[in-house]
Amino acid sequence: MAQRGIREYDAKRLLAGFLPQYLNEFSYKGDLALVGPETDLEELASTHPWLKTARLVVKPDQLFGKRGKHGLVLLDADWDRAKKFLQEKMGALVAVGDITGRLSHFLIEPFIPHIEELYVAISSNSDGDNIFFSMQGGVFVEENWDKVVRFHVDVLAGIDGVDIKSRLPKDLGEKSTAVDNFIKALWRFYAETGFSYLEINPFTFHNGSIVPLDMVAKLDDAEEYWQRKRWSGLAFPEPFGRSLSKEELFIKDLDSKTGASLKLTILNPEGRVWTMVAGGGASVIYADTICDLGFAKEMANYGEYSGDPNTEETYYYTRTILDLMTRHIDPRGKMLLIGGAIANFTDVAKTFKGVVVALEEYQQKLQDAGVKIYVRRGGPNYEQGLKLMRSLGRRLGVPIEVYGPETHMTRIVPLALDGAST
């Protein structure tokens, strides 16, 4: 559970769909079309007839900014030009900052000719939300940050008592009432639709009403239960440049079906140091220790399992990791760290049962890949769990070193890596 970016397409869809509930005069229709790798453009044009009649804007919609600067925005084009642009760019490899990825999703919307570019953003912190407004929006907002007005909205008091109008720039003139109403409505929409960040940069006035031109948003995915109606059909795409592997998707799917937590990120599939650590806190410390000891490049994965997963879940989790780590043979051998802190309520013996079944299944492959296993864990039933691991070592013909709470949590990291450096 965390803050997750959404597509501009979805952000604008939410805005068009629900802001009018807070702002009668908001007439933005939300003419939006999302193009993915599988989209049939002719069919899209038949369900979105304005595509063939309006002047269009086309831009990638994959959670990265500064698209204009990278020459990825097509402005004021007709449908044929847009299609050509899409055919050229779809699947293209582009570098954005340090990250390289393939273009896969584009947003098409009507082109709005404009001069005025206004800026509004809302972010949250522990005591409330901050609303930022500037008349110098667009790409220049950062260089003109001193012109940005900030309004603080207390988390309990809400926006009712906040004086916005008198603090808006005088240059807004008669538009200040409209902007005042828009900001107040936008905050209510933000608070009641599960947002944790929202930026419209820029928006403009078109025929007297407000139109968002460019939008970035994050939602708090923990709100899913309350927002299931408003969020229906909404997706949380992976960050740009990152596509999930089959194995990561499998664990993600497993995670979504259980009250326990199961996480896996593959960092370097050919790395020699693999971890299977229980606990969100402990897993970070294991990763830290591996890096501290100079093995960052050999660290194959980050992951954690916690919240008392059942035997079946730990079996699938272990099997996924064993499968990945035994695919490439490295003559220097590999290390698997089955680590964890002293659990509060997770039954160690029960979780290890699933681990043991998977290890037995991969006996031959583990031997072939020269895997050494290091275990450290404590908590309910840990004696039994560790005993299970020790007796497995004797059966399996794979070296397994097993430690309990008497050994420092990360002690197995240097033990494993000492072997690795020789």
């Binding site: 559970m1 965390a2 803050q3 990250i99 949250s124 522990s126 005591d127 409330g128 207390d154 988390v155 309990l156 608070a191 599960g194 944790s196 708090d220 923990a222 709100e223 239960y225 309350w226 992976e238 960050p239 440049g241 990152r242 937590s261 996480k263 990120t265 960092l267 229980a278 606990g279 969100g280 806190g281 402990a282 897993s283 970070v284 410390i285 990763a287 830290d288 220790t289 591996i290 890096c291 501290d292 960052a296 660290m299 980050y302 954690e304 916690s306 919240g307 802190a341 002293i342 659990a343 509060n344 309520f345 404590g378 908590g379 309910p380 039994q384 709470p405 420092h408 990360t410 002690r411």
Partner: protein
């Protein structure tokens, strides 16, 4: 009233929201080993049931009241000022706000993960406004050594004893991670005199109370001599601690470490296990925070591995300065082992009071006399085969199982007029339910109705074994004045033979290896029917006698086993079982017909009263 910096002491009373029986028992066990005067849980709040919950206090059992709502519990127990909230992420907000609205509740620990950020912020701001404290969400909670634990904090009793949490040390600890709390207790207990109090604020972005909130409490508490904290990349909470250090608000030595130093070498998109663990700016990275801590005068190890060493270094300095006095270790307490756990680990044994040798439901599949139910089905053993397994613990030959089924079919019913069916019908008409009416019928079975099978088997077997001639047997019984069981029928006779008996005999002759006892009984019948036409071998007698023939000749039974069958009276069971089919039929029949109460007609009763003289007692 304890000072504000004290959240929990040895008299703290709490509510547990949610029927978390394991966590409840863990809290009570902790109270018990801390020698608290009484349990820390005043009441359980369980929205689906009010009543009581039974739990252990040491080896004794106690009762904890259970209420449906927070306000009812709060009214009944105004001394409880803590609520341990196990509500799910869906109801954590509503229940916490409800608890905050109660004047007496001043600390709420929210365990649920996945509470929305806006809800967390509202809970937190509400609590702050009221001068109350929220621990969590997304945490195991926290504990004050020797005084009070929240839910599952510090895990098992063994761990609590290993980390000496049953008595206070001098270290105040706070972390984000609940999972690391126990590990920290362990590290601290190995490198100092142990923890005074430890709290995990939870890994969310907006925890209800911050690490600084707790550190400032530790600073104020004179019993705490040093503070340890374990932060995480992401967020700015650590910088609030650093500012407080710089401003001199924290004077006690502080050991600090921020985890997540690996993040610069990982792809930016990796989301660590905690929702808040993501550095959005350089300032939020673990390195930057560790450097800032160090610069502000905290004791910062070079890696997490050195955390214990830093704790030890500070503790030993305090000891040498006389700030901390050497602790006189109290005796480690004991808690009775949980019976089921001790049994599972093989630590204890206990003679059982109950033995079962016919079936076993403790495994994945029920066993009949050791045989899997699915095998019973696969082998089509039928009712006769099942009776063989459950009554005799034998896989009977097919013809024997077939005989049992034949008996059951034959005795299944004999019309509504026989006493058993009659009684069942009368009971049913009186409005009794199926089972009561069935019992009424079954209770009628006895020596004169259906219950002569065992007696007949016993007497004929006895006579045969004593080598009595049929004549000797008949005259012997006559001399004793006993009617021969299994002989005689109310309406059937030589001329009007009982078809049921004929069926049984022809099955036996066709299938049994031998029918020796039957042959003997038929000789006896010749003698008795010569005296009176209705003194035939009746169905009870025939079943009992043939069953003995079956057992003797089929080879599956030893003599001792046959004796036991007769002695224990197995065979009346055949009648009771078979006839139950008919009795149930009659009862259902009456119910379908909607029969009214049966009253025996008065003209069918001869009323003959004793005379007044007859009833007078002689003085």
């Amino acid at each position: 009233m304890s000072p504000n910096y004290v959240l929990f002491d040895r008299n703290t009373k709490a509510f547990v929201y949610g029927y978390q029986t394991n966590a409840i028992q863990r809290m009570l066990d902790f109270d018990y080993i801390c020698n608290r005067p009484d349990p820390s849980i005043s009441a359980i709040i369980n929205p689906s049931r009010a009543g009581i919950h039974k739990a252990f206090w040491g080896s004794k059992e106690i009762i904890i009241p259970m209420y449906r709502s927070i306000s009812l519990a709060a009214k009944a127990y105004p001394e409880a000022d803590v609520m341990v909230n196990f509500a799910s992420h869906r109801s954590a907000f509503d229940t916490t706000m409800e608890a905050l609205a109660e004047e007496n509740i001043r600390v709420v620990a929210v365990i649920a993960e996945g509470v929305p950020e806006r809800q967390s912020r509202i809970m937190s701001a509400t609590a702050k406004k009221q001068g109350k404290i929220i621990i969590g969400p997304a945490t195991v909670g926290g504990m004050t050594a020797g005084a009070f634990r929240i839910g599952n904090t510090a895990g098992t009793i063994e761990n609590i004893i290993a980390s000496k949490l049953y008595r206070p040390g001098c270290v105040g600890f706070v972390s984000k991670s609940g999972g690391m709390l126990n590990e920290a207790f362990n590290i601290i207990s190995r490198n100092s005199d142990g923890v005074y109090e430890g709290v995990a604020i939870g890994g969310d972005r907006y925890p209800g109370s911050t690490m600084l909130d707790h550190i400032l409490r530790y600073e104020e508490n004179p019993a705490i001599k040093m503070i340890a904290c374990l932060g995480e990349l992401g967020g700015e909470d650590e910088y609030r601690i650093i500012s407080a250090l710089k401003e001199g608000k924290i004077k006690k030595p502080l050991v600090a470490w921020v985890t997540g130093t690996c993040s610069p070498v990982l792809p930016a998109s990796v989301q660590f296990g905690h929702a808040g663990a993501k550095a959005d700016t350089h300032k939020e990275t673990a390195q930057a925070k560790n450097d800032a801590f160090s610069e502000a005068g905290a004791y910062v190890p070079t890696s997490f591995d050195g955390y214990g060493d830093s704790v030890r270094q500070v503790y030993e300095t305090l000891l040498s300065q006389g700030v901390v006095l050497p602790l006189i270790e109290p005796e480690a307490p004991k808690i009775p082992a949980d019976y089921s756990k001790a049994l599972a680990s093989g630590d204890i044994r206990k003679p059982t009071t109950f033995i079962c040798t016919i079936s076993d439901d403790s495994g994945e599949e029920v066993l009949y006399a050791g045989k899997k139910l699915s095998a019973v089905m696969d082998e089509k053993m039928g009712i006769g085969g099942v009776i063989g397994l459950l009554w005799f613990k034998k896989e009977l030959p097919d013809y024997a199982a077939g005989f049992i089924e034949l008996v059951l079919q034959i005795v299944a019913d004999h019309g509504p007029a026989v006493s058993g069916a009659h009684n069942a019908i009368v009971a049913s008409c009186a409005g009794k339910d199926l089972i009561s009416s069935l019992c009424s019928g079954l209770l009628t079975i006895g020596p004169r109705f259906g219950g002569a099978i065992d007696d007949a088997a016993r007497e004929f077997k006895h006579a045969k074994e004593a080598d009595l001639t049929p004549e000797q047997f008949v005259s012997d019984m006559k001399r004793k004045g006993i009617n021969i069981p299994g002989i005689g029928h109310k309406i059937k006779s030589v001329k009007n033979p009982d078809k049921r008996v004929q069926l049984l005999i022809s099955y036996a002759r066709a299938n049994f290896p031998s029918t020796e006892l039957l042959n003997y009984a038929l000789l006896v019948e010749e003698l008795t029917t010569a005296k009176k036409g209705n003194l035939i071998l009746n169905v009870d007698g025939c079943i009992g006698i043939l069953f003995l023939d079956l057992m003797t000749s089929c080879g599956a039974f030893s003599k001792a086993e046959i004796d036991e069958v007769v002695r224990l009276g197995y065979l009346n069971g055949l009648f009771a079982l078979g006839r139950s089919i008919g009795l149930i039929g009659h009862i259902l029949d009456q119910k379908r017909l909607g029969s009214r109460l049966y009253r025996h007609p008065a003209e069918d009763i001869a009323y003959i009263m004793p005379s007044p003289e007859d009833i007078k007692c002689k003085r």
